[in-house]
């Protein structure tokens, strides 16, 4: 029983960051119809910036995460303006190829700049775990969970309650009609991509101190983000949030009770199972497939 609680807690902590990653990816797909292969690289970018700011420049830890978020936003905006805006009317495969090219260039750029050796981001939190009855958790992980929950709520409020969120939802439902109603669709696209990239960079900056930072860390995370998005249904933000937690719990319990070697394979098994059983995702509305 204690073990179940411990795995559950670990899963929830990891799930928060997975949800952040999934939301960014699903938002970009839902609004822009772009399969964003650079998402995992933005995650790695955020982690490396955390390393740069905290370990090399000795900036404040919390300030560093905020700076990484801003830098992710800026890089996302640049990618959108330079690569995606000119191809806005091209088909999804063409755009996908460009994103693959950008992914390879970014990842190897990171390798070139930082080298292949994994980096450790120091954190200001104590290394002793906090013990709550049967379960224990590192303070850093609790902090990560708190930040992700705040961001998730803030993001919902943004989408649900603001004029900007309304414009994004309108673009999601029908781009042309939204444009006719005076929504600046081009601006929404840039902002969406920048926001999604920023979320990935924050996730990287938050997980950087927990895991090691290395140039290929974005690959697996990018693929997992796809698994989360498929689980929740492409373009579905609530689905991606739930999907993030579900995947993290599946991984935690799978690694704990089945096989820790195959930990990272569970996500892909989930993809294949979802597509075999319910291809539109578990939380999708009808008629949004493909």
């Amino acid at each position: 029983m204690d073990q179940i609680l411990q795995h559950g807690l670990n899963g929830v902590v990891l799930g928060g960051t997975y949800a952040l990653l999934g939301i960014g990816l699903t938002l970009v797909f839902g609004i822009m119809r772009v399969v964003n292969f650079t998402h995992g690289e933005l995650y790695a970018f955020g982690a490396y910036l955390a390393y740069l700011f905290v370990a090399l420049l000795h900036l404040d830890f919390f300030l560093s995460i905020a700076l990484a978020a801003l830098a992710g936003f800026a890089l996302g905006a640049v990618i959108e303006l330079v690569l995606l805006r000119p191809l806005r009317t091209d088909d999804i495969d063409t755009v996908m190829l460009v994103m693959i090219g950008a992914w390879i260039a970014l990842q190897n750029g990171e390798q070139f700049v930082w080298g292949g050796v994994a980096k450790l981001v120091p954190s200001p939190f104590a290394q002793e775990p906090l013990v709550f009855g049967p379960v224990s958790v590192l303070p850093l992980r609790l902090f990560v969970l708190a930040v992700t929950l705040v961001l998730l709520v803030a993001f919902y409020l943004l989408i649900d309650r603001t004029r900007l969120g309304m414009a994004m939802r309108a673009t999601f439902q029908d781009r042309d009609t939204a444009a006719l109603m005076g929504v600046d669709v081009k601006g929404i696209y840039t902002l969406t991509f920048a926001l999604g990239s920023s979320l990935a960079a924050i996730a990287g900056a938050l997980l950087g101190p927990i895991f090691l930072v290395n140039p290929t860390m974005g690959n697996l995370v990018g693929l997992k983000a796809f698994a989360i998005v498929i689980l929740g249904g492409l373009g579905n933000i609530t689905g991606a949030t739930i999907g993030g937690f579900v995947l993290a719990l599946v991984e935690e319990f799978g690694a704990g009770y089945l096989s820790s070697e195959y930990r990272d394979a569970f996500g892909f098994v989930v993809i294949i199972a979802v597509l075999a059983l319910r291809p539109q995702g578990f939380f999708a509305l009808k008629g949004r497939v493909g």
């Binding site: 797909f29 119809r33 399969v35 690569l83 000119p86 191809l87 009317t89 091209d90 088909d91 999804i92 495969d93 063409t94 996908m96 190829l97 460009v98 693959i100 090219g101 950008a102 992914w103 390879i104 260039a105 970014l106 990842q107 190897n108 750029g109 390798q111 070139f112 690959n219 693929l223 796809f226 698994a227 498929i230 492409l234 096989s259 070697e261 195959y262 990272d264 394979a265 996500g267 892909f268 098994v269 993809i271 294949i272 597509l275 075999a276 291809p279 539109q280 497939v289 493909g290």
Partner: protein, 341 residues
């Protein structure tokens, strides 16, 4: 000059190469490039002629490599049955065609699964499939030896009049073997895309609802194309196993799929010669860049190369040159017809 004469000349030139070019290093490079060209030809069948982007093509390649290696080496594995499964070493050609069959079977399963939904889903399913395969190859040590790799894989051999059964071990022999398999695969795909199947594939790539309405069985043809494509990729993988003679889980790496995609897209997807031209360029480019740039920089150049090709040569090199040769405004420099998403 008709295409047929050109093809014959190209094959004759390629076949005579080891007779006048005696650099064994370059021949080895050409052999491995040839193996990737075969894989790119198989990817082109899906990407170019059906419009479905398989980003797990390295999985079929890797399954072919592992199957052929394991069958020719023999293996025993305990899968929970009362007695372990023991497979004695098989002759290499039996292993080779076994690999083709197993890869084709996986193609069938993935095709059946993924074509219930298409587009982005197909891409992600194929990526996930390749990643699962890599983890199986890494972790199922009893079968695959994991990161220790399968070693001492026997080379392929042929029966030659006068000298009996000879193992293809020298560089020119391996080169000719790859060339022969490549030519067979090329003409297989060429024949297929000109047949009823190929016309059905192009019809549904261009306009699926219309194709469906005139009675083209969309899913059926997509699955057929996936099976053939996976089988050819498996043949390329088996060639790799018997030429390099060592197979490790890295054959499933995503970067190999990306290499194939670059070859197809730069050469010209949906053209028969495209993967060959793109494959020669991107297979030999790393050798040209070797020593001048570290691997990361090469990959950065690759990545930017893809972006530039999509922006400036959206249809690839082969269509651009075909148009130039006919002294027309190159069609390839115009953007393809825009389709509202």
């Amino acid at each position: 000059m008709s295409a047929r004469v050109f093809n014959l000349l190209f094959v004759a030139l390629a076949a005579s190469l080891p007779l006048w070019m005696r650099d064994p290093y370059l021949l080895a490079i050409l052999s491995s490039t040839g193996i990737f060209i075969i894989a790119a030809i198989s990817l082109n069948l899906l990407l170019g002629f059906t419009g479905q982007l398989s980003l797990g093509h390295a999985a079929f390649f890797g399954i072919g490599a592992y199957t052929s290696a394991l069958l020719s080496l023999g293996f025993d594995v305990d899968i929970g049955l009362p007695s372990p499964v023991v497979v004695d070493p098989k002759p290499v050609w039996v292993a080779f065609f076994g690999a083709v069959a197993v890869s084709g079977l996986f193609g069938f399963l993935i095709g059946k699964l993924a074509f219930r939904v298409r587009g982005a889903y197909f891409v992600i399913v194929t990526i996930a499939f390749a990643e699962v395969m890599r983890m199986v190859a890494l972790n199922w040590v009893d079968l695959t030896e994991g990161p220790m790799a399968l070693n001492n894989i026997p080379p392929l051999s042929i029966w030659w009049p006068g000298s009996g059964l000879i193992a293809l071990v020298t560089k020119p022999q391996a080169y000719w073997l790859v060339l022969a398999v490549g030519v067979v695969c090329y003409f297989l795909v060429a024949h297929m895309v000109r047949s009823r199947i190929g016309r059905a594939l192009v019809a549904l790539r261009e306009n699926e609802p219309l194709a469906r309405s005139v009675g083209v069985r969309v899913t059926h043809y997509l699955v057929v194309a996936t099976v053939v494509s996976a089988a050819i990729a498996g043949a390329a993988g088996a060639l790799y196993a018997h030429c390099v003679r060592i197979v490790d889980p890295d054959v499933f790496l995503f970067i190999y799929t990306v290499t194939m995609v670059i070859m197809v897209v730069s050469g010209g997807k949906g053209t028969l010669a495209g993967p060959v031209v793109g494959g020669l360029i991107f297979g030999l480019m790393p050798q040209a860049l070797r020593g001048t740039a570290p691997p990361e920089v090469q990959w950065i150049i690759y990545g930017i190369g893809i972006i530039l090709i999509v922006f400036f040569l959206p249809r690839g090199i082969v269509p651009a040159f075909a148009d130039l040769a006919r002294l027309r405004v190159p069609q390839a420099l115009r953007r393809p017809a825009k389709v509202a998403p």
